[in-house]
């Protein structure tokens, strides 16, 4: 369906430009400063890659970054798998208490992370899980699950179950139906859900901060700690790397999958 396009008046262009500036200006300034050799952000910019070189030698930041990546990847895999299974159950079956269960999945999204973090810390100590990487992963999976379920369920809602029937009538076995008909349809949803899970985990500060043990922290925690000790432009450098990486990923994904509706 193509909507009729009316050309945008000048005021509209200005407005959109301001929105984009509001979103991107701080990031652009930060990225520029990561290439400024002046520690005090003196202008004009004295271009240099010295902070990137310094970053390469900063073992603490790199270790924290590696931890963040590991946690985010593991969280993404577990949360996407579990969440998709939940969505499929909601989609295919009718059972008692379904509506209540679906409703109860949403509040965790709105509860402040500080409160969830505190609750997790207390609970994990109480049951003996304690702190550390495993505890962080557990916490992140719990945080990411509702997002995955919401995204995959939304995608499944647009799936026509007669497609599965059609596949079966044509002789496809159950796994062939899932793999060749259902999966390709929900794949963009799975991808979006995985991105959400990854972002929730990779961004996570409060819960990671509470559940980290000395010597094992994540990037946001490490950045926070080093800012408290005194800011170094290495932070700009690593942030710029992360932003570039995530922008490239998102733009790539957006190219392959049209978000917000097939056809």
């Amino acid at each position: 369906m193509t909507r009729r396009r009316i050309s945008l008046p000048a005021i509209g262009r200005v407005y959109l430009g301001l929105v984009l500036a509001f979103l991107y200006l701080p990031i652009l300034v930060m990225a520029a400063m990561s290439f400024n050799s002046s520690k005090l952000y003196r202008l004009p910019i004295d271009w240099s890659t010295q902070w990137y070189v310094a970053l390469a030698g900063n073992d603490k930041l790199i270790a924290a970054g590696t931890n963040s990546l590991i946690i985010a990847v593991v969280t993404t895999i577990i949360a996407t798998a579990l969440g998709t299974a939940v969505s499929l159950v909601f989609f295919r079956y009718r059972f008692r208490g379904k509506a209540v269960m679906q409703l109860l999945l949403f509040p965790p999204i709105t509860i402040p992370w500080l409160i969830i973090g505190t609750a997790m810390l207390i609970f994990f100590f109480w049951v003996g899980i304690g702190r550390g990487l495993h505890a962080m992963i557990l916490g992140h999976v719990a945080l990411a699950l509702p997002y995955v379920i919401v995204v995959v369920t939304a995608r499944l809602h647009s799936f026509d179950p007669t497609l599965e029937e059609a596949a079966r009538s044509l002789g496809a076995k159950a796994w062939q139906v899932s793999w060749r008909v259902t999966f390709p349809w929900i794949a963009p949803g799975l991808f979006a859900a995985a991105l959400f899970a990854f972002a929730v985990s990779f961004d996570q500060f409060v819960i990671s901060y509470f559940l980290a043990v000395p010597g094992v922290s994540t990037l946001p925690v490490e950045i926070y700690t080093s800012i408290r000790k005194g800011f170094t432009p290495e932070i700009n450098a690593i942030s710029t790397i992360i932003i570039t990486f995530s922008m490239a990923l998102l733009l790539g994904v957006a190219r392959f999958y049209r978000f917000g509706g097939e056809r």
Binding site: T162, L163, E165, A166, A167, S169, L170, A172
Partner: protein, 351 residues
């Protein structure tokens, strides 16, 4: 290709009887229409033959063997869904090839057979299109090609033409009939459209409230409906309450004696099709022979170019008569006219 037999099949959904002791045979190579209003159980029956649903009691056999223990994917059926259910992520070629590729047929063989199937439905050259790039009629052809390419034993069509607009529907009726004759697959199709059932099929089964009301070739059912429901659902009918008056004659409510062919038995109603009645001004010479005659008052006429429909009042009952536009003249409202018809066209209804 195979014969399908449905024997004493019943199916309940809670307190609702979707199918009530239905027995019907679908002949090998035949084109069979299951006709009924929504909720009559016709789709339930089709889905049971496909294997998406199972009878509570009774049996379904395909080519003589019971299929209760055979799941959908092993029944070797082809089904066309009301919304076509084309796989949106696949091209036309891949859609049609699906049934062959899940069976592990070799690539060159798949290409050859998909080519043949697309040729049969006149869609050669559309291989690389995606379903959303096709018109409604083209989608339907793809769905049909996909359903027959595996050479199924039975072809099941669920409201095959309901999603198309009128002119396309007529065109597809012709196509569907040609293709069915070409491939000679036992075909069962579900419809609520009486015209579709009459045009396409060589046998019709009329379902109402889970029961098979009547079954037979279209002409037989049309000319000799057994019940008031069958008379009114397939075509239109004027119904008259009767008082039995022995062989050869009955009296209508006003005492008019009319003649019928055969015996009325315990029947309480007769039906006369609107096109079998001759409508004439009272001034016209009385019909000869043994015609049944009544007088009615014209209420209104509906002019449709080549034909006219008259709505008439007879003893506070509305009658309908179809008239070919031969004279170019119309009889106005309020005029009393004579209706006559042959005893042969007076159908005695069972209930």
């Amino acid at each position: 290709m195979a014969q399908v037999a449905v024997q004493e099949v019943s199916r309940h959904f809670g307190p609702v009887k979707a199918l009530d002791n239905v027995t019907v045979d679908f002949a090998d190579g035949g084109f069979y229409a299951l006709l009924g209003p929504s909720g009559s159980g016709k789709t339930t029956l089709l889905r049971m033959i496909a294997g998406f649903d199972y009878p509570d009691s009774g049996h379904i056999r395909i080519a003589g063997e019971p299929v209760e223990a055979v799941s959908v994917e092993k029944r070797e059926i082809g089904m066309m869904f009301q919304n076509y259910a084309l796989f949106p992520n696949m091209t036309v070629f891949d859609n049609v090839a699906f049934g062959l590729s899940v069976r592990g047929v070799a690539k060159p063989e798949i290409a050859r057979r998909v080519g043949e199937a697309l040729e049969l439905v006149h869609l050669t050259g559309f291989d690389k299109r995606k379903p959303h790039q096709l018109s409604g009629g083209q989608r339907q052809r793809v769905a049909l090609a996909r359903a027959i390419v595996t050479r199924p034993r039975v072809l099941l069509l669920d409201e095959p033409l309901s999603a198309l607009d009128k002119s396309l529907r007529v065109e597809m009726q012709v196509e569907l009939k040609r293709i069915q004759r070409d491939v000679a697959i036992t075909t069962i199709f579900v419809t609520h459209d009486q015209e579709e059932a009459l045009t396409l099929s060589d046998r019709i089964g009329i379902l109402n409230e889970g029961r098979l009301v009547q079954e037979g070739p279209p002409l037989d059912i049309y000319e000799r409906p057994r019940t008031a429901f069958a008379a009114r659902f397939l075509g239109e009918a004027n119904l008259f309450d009767i008082t039995p008056g022995g062989a050869g004659g009955v009296s209508l409510g006003d005492g008019t004696m009319i003649r019928i062919n055969g015996d009325t038995g315990a029947a309480r109603q007769v039906a006369v099709r609107p096109e079998k009645m001759l409508l004439e001004p009272l001034s016209a010479p009385a019909p000869e022979g043994d015609s049944n005659v009544i007088q009615a008052t014209v209420q209104q006429h509906i002019f449709a170019g080549s034909s006219l429909t008259y709505l008439l009042d007879w003893r506070d009952q509305q009658l309908k008569v179809f008239v070919q536009n031969r004279t170019g003249a119309v009889i106005g409202a309020g005029e009393t006219v004579r209706l006559s018809w042959s005893p042969r066209d007076t159908v005695v209804l069972a209930g």
